[in-house]
Amino acid sequence: MGNIIQIPKPVYILSSATVVGQHEKKGPLGEYFDIVGDADDTFGCDTWEKSESEMQRLALSRALNYAVKKDSDLEAILAGDLLNQCAGSCYGLVNFDTPFLGLFGACSTAAEALLLSSLLCSSHMNRCAAVSSSHNASAERQFRYPLEYGGQRAPTAQWTVTGSGAFILSNKKEDFVNTSYNGSPVPVISDVCIGKSIDAGITDANNMGAAMAPAAADTLLRYFKESSSQPRDFDIIMTGDLGFEGSRILCDLTAAEGLDISAVHCDGGLIIYDRIGQDKHAGGSGCGCSAVVLAAQVLRGIRTGQVANILFIGTGALMNPTAIQQGASIPGIAHLVHISSDIL
């Protein structure tokens, strides 16, 4: 017991902002992203790591704009990315005059940041920011091959999303008064569930979906075991980036335990691209994937009143290139955030 952590007082997602690259712009959600980079996805920087940092800076600045707040109004920024030492976040957010906590949860970082921010905002703080990012080029460099290396991608491989999402959380309803969201339904976080790191024995770094799916299944099973709700009570159960392989495995694993989520399940990695048309193999992935899809699709749905009750499960493959070379398998993790709709 004690899997679900109730948020004692409502924590609102005051605003959200997204920054993406060209491939994401050309995807099905393209028109809903707030900022799109230049044609080269460099964001005006001379290295890809700097580009990623710039994306985080842009995302948080825009989210603060939407929230009509300044950086000094925030009591903490919780941020993470896929780079060593969370370089994308550390460098990107260094000029904000706000206490900073760096996080690593691989591709689950967006959910991890939202989860921790909501806990902080419900007790010791009033406003926090949750930021995460990934950049296809910096991730290729760090985890795979040089960008110009001529290799073929496996059909199970996923495409790291170039994207950054920033969310401003607040426990004050009155914060909405000056924003453009005033008068519409707003997203509120009601409970969360921290994921367990689960090693299912997958060693293939080109099949992250299979490495993450058991962790997502575990979190969902623990959640529904303890919760009084059923999958059909939710409009959407959104996993971050399981992709084509992982999504099918997740539905299988939960169905085997008597939990049928297939009717309401959607996956960020599957909806961010036209998977076949854009030749994205098993779909999108990365810290940025779940963040931008959550903001551009799910939160937009809540604000426009199309959906009212959703589960967001950020999924991460805790992959370390050194450990992989040493023959270790890849543990997965999945954090759950329950977001519902509140009328102001």
């Binding site: 690259g21 080269d40 996805d41 460099t42 296809n136 080029a137 960008l147 110009e148 293939d204």
Partner: protein, 122 residues
């Protein structure tokens, strides 16, 4: 016909050596770096045994262009140096024979890095 024949053999043998590597990549999950290393070592072994020479005579560039041809050059260079200078040839022959390829790749690689920057994946 005599003019075209070498080209047909170059195409067939060169293509076939690539197909073998493609099958290894797709079926065994060997990384491309391991394929390159295996091909060079295979070229040294086949060159050392004297087999690869026949393939070169037969298929020309179809056998010398794949990386096995690079291995063959190393084996050939070492054999010639050993014949000429004895045991010291074991150390001098290989790199000398491969020198043009290695130097060209390194220098052109450096020039590429000076002139261009890497671009996002298409």
């Amino acid at each position: 016909m005599d003019i075209i024949l070498p080209y047909i053999w170059a195409f067939l043998i060169g293509g076939l050596l690539c197909v073998i590597a493609q099958i290894l990549i797709d079926k065994t999950k060997l990384t491309p770096a391991r394929i390159l290393v295996s091909y060079v070592v295979a070229g040294v072994i086949l060159g050392g045994c004297g087999i690869y020479k026949y393939l070169i005579d037969f298929a020309g560039a179809g056998a010398s262009t794949p990386l096995t041809g690079f291995g063959y050059l190393i084996a050939k260079g070492i054999r010639e140096e050993v014949d000429k200078n004895g045991l010291i040839g074991v150390l001098t022959g290989g790199i000398s024979a491969a020198a043009a390829g290695i130097a060209a790749a390194l220098i052109f690689g450096l020039l590429a890095a000076i002139c261009f920057r890497d671009k996002r994946k298409q």
